[in-house]
């Protein structure tokens, strides 16, 4: 009781009043107690003055585009950021861009102690919105809010075309607001301008699944279609990181490569030159080389062949044989080199050198068995064979390098295409590559 009012000895008999729509008689539920300014009759869509005990009709709107059932039914309670909220109002708003109407839905969230919050939903993308207490500063195509820069995304004229439930302001179907949006994913800053008021609000992207959990809704939320203006990119945060990691690993690889190169006791284990004279028969019988030692731990062995082929070829059947165990590695190598000139100019094919690396060869005493094959009309050919232990295989490092590079490129590409999809819906679409319309 207020000061100065003497307490009444007998409380007055309470008065009650059924709350019914004066238009159609349907029962009206007031959820937000004295907070609601308007309440919409769910049966006949009359917008009623919630402050008026007789619920005077403020506006009756025609449902032109059909009933819009709210995904979160009015009266549903949920917990957002630790506070309980009840959904008390729902509106559909739309903008028209190049003749096409886009609609989104707004839910009014009520708690008797806390400021009103809003949830918006567009194509399965949700935003959790509250009114800004601090004023953003607009500078060219961006807005500075609390020291963070938000990029201008879109300016549009939004109009309300369907309402349900209660609103803390006097809502009307058909009311317009100039909406300017600035984004810094996952947040969106928007200014709504009417004749005598500018309201700034801050939205944070929310996932349908989390909203469903917060409000304990049955089923699953509608799938999010496309990329929304402030949807956090699943990759963008990682792009700088992945290139940093790539650089770090690439350097590490380089160090490893150089390190292995230095550490390995490499050297030529065997070297010899042979010649095949003109007219020597094809399919020359095989011969074996002098034995040589391969030392150290089990490692690779490179067999390099070079031959003075000139518009000719030589094929060598090799076998690397371990003298002690009899283990053999069989392989064939061809050295061929052709060149000439035609109407397109000079050309060449092949090389006078060949090399092959045999992995995992244990230490031991070895020899090579060589069986050369040549063209019967070959010119004299001399060829040399060199056996090297512990060669660095750049291919291995190359593969590792690629294994690092490819994800970095893939992530960057995904990030770029995500941002392109985001901005293609804005007032500042990126240049189109090809006709992807």
């Amino acid at each position: 009781m207020s000061a100065g009012t003497p307490p009444l000895s007998i409380p007055p008999k309470p008065q009650a009043k059924a709350l019914n729509c004066p238009q159609c008689g349907a029962a009206i539920t007031l959820r937000a107690l004295g907070h609601a300014e308007t309440v919409v009759c769910e049966s006949c869509h009359s917008i009623l003055d919630a402050k008026d005990p007789n619920l005077q009709i403020l506006q009756k709107f025609q449902v032109i585009t059909g009933e819009v059932p709210p995904l979160i039914p009015l009266g549903t309670r949920g917990k957002l950021r630790g506070t309980d909220y009840e959904v008390i109002g729902f509106q559909r708003r739309g903008i028209k861009v190049e003749g096409i109407s886009y609609y989104w839905h707004e839910y009014v969230l009520f708690n008797p102690y806390k400021p009103i919050r809003y949830l918006t939903e567009y194509n399965g993308h949700w935003n959790d919105i509250s009114v800004c207490k601090e004023l953003p500063v607009v500078q060219f195509a961006s807005a500075n809010y609390l020291g963070e820069i938000y990029k201008h995304f879109q300016s549009s004229d939004a109009n309300t075309n369907y309402v349900l439930g209660e609103f803390p302001w006097q809502v009307r179907v058909g009311e317009h607001a100039a909406v300017t949006e600035y984004v810094k994913p996952p947040r969106v800053l928007s200014a709504e301008k009417t004749a005598n008021e500018v309201t700034w609000s801050m939205g944070e992207y929310a996932y349908g699944a989390d909203i469903w959990k917060s409000f304990n809704l049955p089923g699953s939320p509608p799938e999010a279609i496309g990329v929304y203006e402030n949807q956090p990119s699943p990759v963008s945060q990682n792009v700088t990181g992945i290139w940093g990691a790539f650089l770090a690993f690439a350097l590490l690889l380089l160090v490893l490569m150089v390190g292995f190169d230095f550490a390995s006791s490499k050297g030529t284990a065997f070297e010899s030159t042979y010649s095949l004279n003109h007219g020597e028969p094809k399919g020359e019988a095989s011969f074996v080389t002098q034995p040589f030692d391969l030392e150290g731990r089990t490692s690779n062995v490179e067999v390099a062949t070079s031959a003075n082929v000139s518009n000719s070829w030589i094929y060598l059947n090799y076998a690397l044989i371990n003298q002690d165990t009899g283990q053999a590695w069989d392989f064939g190598r061809e050295v061929s080199y052709y060149y000439g000139s035609d109407s397109d100019g000079s050309w060449s094919e092949g090389s006078t050198k060949d090399s092959v690396v045999i992995p995992s060869v244990p230490a031991g005493h070895y020899y090579l068995r060589i069986e050369p094959e040549v063209d019967p009309n070959h010119p004299p050919i001399s060829y040399s064979v060199e056996v090297k232990r512990n060669v660095t295989v750049p291919g291995f490092f190359g593969i590792a390098f690629l294994a690092l590079l490819l994800p970095a490129i893939a992530i960057t590409w995904r990030s770029i295409s995500f941002e392109r999809a985001r901005w293609s819906e804005s007032d500042h679409p990126p240049m189109q590559i090809g006709n992807t319309e």
Partner: protein, 210 residues
């Protein structure tokens, strides 16, 4: 405390308000939604009855602002064409007088400023900027309002203006200002927005179901 009892105006069934300040209930029999029209209507002098309102704050609510305890002693209820708001008069424990405004549960605390050379109502437009105490403010809304009632203790004598104009200003830092054009001389209130939880309010009104 006795529970208020009445009959459903629709079907005549007995209605018991479990909580004496309930505003609304549903008839268990005919499911009519019933609204009490006699609650929270307090006579204040010759002023019209205060309409039922929704502020969680009430007379004798206590809180803490900038490490100083305060207590709510009175209020003015304003109404404008888009709704209403409360200006609760609070007294800090050092004797300072301040206002805790509650506009749809957006809370701000402000103190009267002795700044002179204030603009008159006609000069102020939305978007205009003013600097007071080295702080830049931008006019965010101009509200023609009328006042619906007062309650409790107020820092001025009887006060009865029907139509008043306010200009609300915001800053980039959460500071807040109000130009009050209800007197011949405009008055300036400077303050800031505050979070409900930060005020650590006690003796709040309770709401059924919350």
């Amino acid at each position: 405390m006795t529970q208020p009892v009445t009959n459903c105006p629709n079907c005549g069934a007995k209605i018991v308000f479990q909580w004496s300040s309930s505003v609304q209930t549903v008839c268990q029999y005919c499911k009519s939604i019933l609204v009490r029209t006699d609650v929270d209507l307090k006579k204040v002098g010759q002023v019209a009855d205060l309409p039922p309102d929704s502020s969680p704050i009430q007379l004798s609510t206590e809180g803490i602002y900038r490490n100083k305890a305060f207590v709510v002693g009175g209020r003015i209820l304003y109404e404008y064409n888009q709704g209403g708001w409360n200006e609760w008069h609070i007294t800090m424990n050092d004797g300072a007088s301040a206002w805790l405004s509650d506009a749809q549960n957006e809370y701000a605390i402000s103190f009267v400023s002795n700044t002179t050379g204030l603009p008159v109502a006609d000069q102020v437009k939305v978007g205009q900027q003013y600097t007071w105490n080295n702080q830049k403010y931008t006019v965010s809304v101009i509200t023609p309002a009328h006042y619906r009632g007062v309650e409790g203790e107020l820092p001025f004598q009887y006060w009865d203006k029907t139509d008043v104009t306010f200009a609300d200003l915001r800053s980039q830092t959460g500071k807040f200002a109000t130009l009050d054009f209800s007197d011949d001389q405009p008055a300036l209130y400077l303050g800031e927005f505050v979070e409900f939880d930060d005020l650590k309010l006690k003796n709040l009104r309770s709401f059924e179901g919350w």
